[in-house]
């Protein structure tokens, strides 16, 4: 059967072009790979290569013809043993019918009705802490370590890698004691090479292990963010669900103390904007432990944001074996009826202080710790808003395109009828964090600013 040579599209946007030159004549033998013609588009001249073998039959579009539409039959090729003279113009093409779901119509827009978003789990709660349970005062640093150590005891595939995690016992001592217990195979000191070891950790997860990759701070993870986002977060989707990447990227995030702009950024909003990632940012020790264990068991890549200034704070942790918390659930830290303060990480402490102060002035604030930034617990925010009708977000980080921005959007879109005042955010100032003590203090969120914002939304200022 004669083969039709059609005007090719040489780029995704090309619709027509000029048939600049024929490099073969009617009657020429053609083998695959031969350049048959030159085609010009508005961008470039390109060569048109043969795929099929045979003899060039009738040329239907003369060289020099402009505006040849993509898909137009430009010549015929006679296959082996075919009569060249019989290869005349083709029959009129039969138009392809656009049948939904039949795939003939490349690029068809699916109707919105066909799209189903996955439902969030609504029935999950923190594990019961039975009456009479004892508690141990534990620092956040120890709680994180305990969470990792428990999971390492349970699952041989879990290992820790990062700068100074082994012999040095952790730059912030979060991995203290792990080398002694688990040995150098499972507690791996890396060179200072974030992009490289983040890639190795991600690849190891693809290969079936459960790596915990420590960044000395998330500021350094900027060098590795390509692997966190392009390799870890997107591969499951791009592979149609074949490729798993159960890796935990963890380390301190946000401002520490007097370390300047390059060591002080909160990356929560960056990672929380990426589909395919889980982002956790706990505040107290019990949550740090329970969520660390959940993160390690999670089948999805997790960004686990800690805070250097909170590492040394101690909180009661229940003496419960295997204390694992649900991912994606916020926690009500303090109940109140007048106003909601939403916070995460270090700002939860500031929000609780503010709530105490406000209680002295007759305002009962409900404080919500988001704990997980992605997926965000919308229900917890909206339920509290429905109760208090006023909401302030406290965030140690920049205001622009922040978690605060996201919470405000949720309240506008889904909680508008419950609002008695504009939702307000209290964040760091919109500047790189300065070094000078006075300027740093001015730039960072603090309790008085939260108190002032709450009074404002309560019309009490």
């Amino acid at each position: 059967m004669a083969i039709e040579l059609k005007m090719p599209a040489l780029s995704p946007t090309m619709e027509e072009g000029t048939l600049a030159k024929w490099l073969k004549s009617e009657g020429d033998e053609i083998v695959a790979g031969d350049i048959i013609a030159e085609i010009e588009t508005d961008k470039a001249t390109m060569e048109f290569e043969a795929v099929d073998e045979g003899t060039l039959g009738k040329i239907l579009v003369e060289e020099g013809t402009e505006g040849v539409k993509v898909g137009t039959v430009i010549a015929m090729i006679a296959g082996e043993g075919e009569d060249v003279s019989a290869t005349e113009a083709p029959d009129e093409p039969v138009p392809v019918e656009d049948t939904p779901g039949e795939g003939k119509d490349v690029g068809r827009e699916p109707s919105e009705a066909e799209i189903t978003k996955p439902a969030r789990k609504t029935d999950v709660k923190d594990p019961e802490v039975p009456e009479g349970t004892s508690f141990t005062s534990t620092s956040v640093r120890e709680a994180l370590r305990d969470g990792m150590a428990e999971e390492m005891r349970k699952d041989e595939r879990v290992f820790v890698m990062g700068e100074e995690v082994a012999q040095y016992q952790g730059a912030y001592k979060v991995t203290q004691g792990l080398l002694d217990e688990f040995g150098p195979k499972r507690v791996i000191d890396t060179p200072i090479t974030e992009y490289g070891f983040a890639g190795i950790g991600t690849g190891a997860a693809m290969g079936g292990l459960r790596p915990i990759v420590e960044f000395m701070t998330f500021n350094f993870a900027m060098q590795a963010i390509d692997h966190i986002i392009n390799s870890a977060a997107k591969t499951n989707y791009m592979s149609g669900g074949q490729m798993r990447c159960p890796v935990v990227f963890r380390g301190p995030n946000g401002a520490a103390s007097r370390v300047g702009a390059q060591h002080s950024q909160n990356y929560g909003p960056w990672y929380a904007s990426v589909p395919g990632l889980i982002v956790i940012a706990p505040y107290d020790a019990a949550d740090a432990k329970g969520l660390m264990k959940a993160a390690i068991r999670c089948e999805d890549p997790v960004v686990f944001l800690e805070n250097e200034l909170v590492y040394g704070r101690s909180f009661d942790v229940p003496d419960i074996e295997d204390y694992v918390l649900p991912i994606g659930k916020a926690r009500i830290m303090r109940e109140g009826s007048d106003v909601t303060i939403v916070a995460y990480s270090i700002a939860v402490g500031l929000a609780l202080e503010a709530a105490e102060e406000l209680a002295g002035e007759g305002i009962e604030a409900e404080v919500i710790d988001l704990r997980t930034l992605r997926p965000l617990d919308k229900d917890a925010i909206l339920t509290s808003l429905a109760k208090t009708n006023r909401l302030v977000i406290a965030e140690e980080g920049w205001p622009t395109c922040s978690i605060s921005s996201e919470v405000i959007a949720i309240c506008m879109e889904e909680g508008f009828d419950h609002l008695d005042a504009p939702v307000t955010r209290v964040c760091d100032e919109d500047v790189p964090l300065p070094y000078a003590a006075n300027l740093e203090k001015l730039a960072l969120i603090d309790t008085p600013r939260i108190v002032a914002a709450v009074k404002k939304v309560c019309y009490r200022d």
């Binding site: 059609k6 090719p8 599209a9 040489l10 995704p12 090309m14 695959a32 790979g33 470039a44 390109m46 048109f48 290569e49 795929v51 898909g71 779901g101 795939g103 119509d105 490349v106 690029g107 699916p110 109707s111 066909e114 799209i115 996955p118 290992f159 195979k185 060179p191 090479t193 992009y195 490289g196 070891f197 983040a198 890639g199 190795i200 991600t202 690849g203 190891a204 693809m206 290969g207 079936g208 292990l209 790596p211 692997h227 392009n230 390799s231 591969t235 499951n236 791009m238 592979s239 149609g240 669900g241 074949q242 490729m243 798993r244 089948e299 999805d300 991912i327 994606g328 997980t372 997926p375």
Partner: protein, 358 residues
Amino acid sequence: MAKAPRSKKTATKSPAEDTDFILHSLQDRLEKDRQFKASKEQMLHFYEQMLLIRRFEERAGQLYGLGLIGGFCHLYIGQEAVAIGLQSALDGDKDSVITGYRDHGHMLAYGIDPKVIMAELTGREAGISKGKGGSMHMFSTEHKFYGGHGIVGAQVALGGGLALAHQYNNDGGLCLAYFGDGAANQGQVYETMNMAALWKLPIVFVVENNQYAMGTAVGRSSAETEFHRRGTAFRIPGMDVNGMDVLEVRQAAEIAFAHVREGKGPVLMECNTYRYRGHSMSDPAKYRTREEVQDVREHKDPIEGIKKLLIENGSSEDDLKAIDKDIRKTVTEAADFAENSPEPEASELYTDVLVGEY
């Protein structure tokens, strides 16, 4: 205070005693005998596999021209001997492979059904990534083929991780990590080489040097164009291989894999090859002459090379033609399948974002 220059050791040593010798030892072994002693069956199989890649890619180029394949589409035409020579030497049960975006050939080398590959190129539900990945993002965990990565050089660090997993699990496997001469200038490649050598990871780094990083010739982008030397700083032995000769590539694979399997750490292999087509489909090809391409096609083509050997060894033109005919049929079937399979259901939009439910 300046460091005193180290005195050159004057005593002659046997290669075994010379710690620097290891950097050259693999190349020395290759140079002793560059040709893998393939049986006629093996040669026929190489011919068949390379031809399948060639015909598949030609057809993919055609489907792209017809608008059935969108976006980027990087063809492997000209480079077939690299994937076939290397992957034919793998232990399929243990070893893993990872590469960049020019990945169709590496998948076909595994014997993965051309239908599901072509259907991925056309973005159909039956595609190996359900149509969600496209040409650059294909995977087969069943074959331990880990992609198919679109960020230049990322697959090298990920390959380091796969190698770490082989070592951690002590499963005897190695990772074959391919990258191009363009990726060879990415920093993370050297970060990975450092750690791989430091930890003696079972990995073979393969530079598929096709002479052009998109439109930039190696000489215009690289201070050291002998890429096999670039592991020296990390004490990784290098090999300089003719990537247009499938038997030489296979021979190099045997030497490199044996070294790695003995626990001696990584090998860096440069396969010198050539891409006949543009970088991606929309490539004006202004950076090289038609004569240059034609010269390689006529004198160095890997498929013509093995074909000549087969004929010298008693295969008839007709036998080889019959193979070609079968392959054309396979490829036509794959193209028809890819064209006629349905697109993914709209309900697939939100699936596979996360594995767990939260």
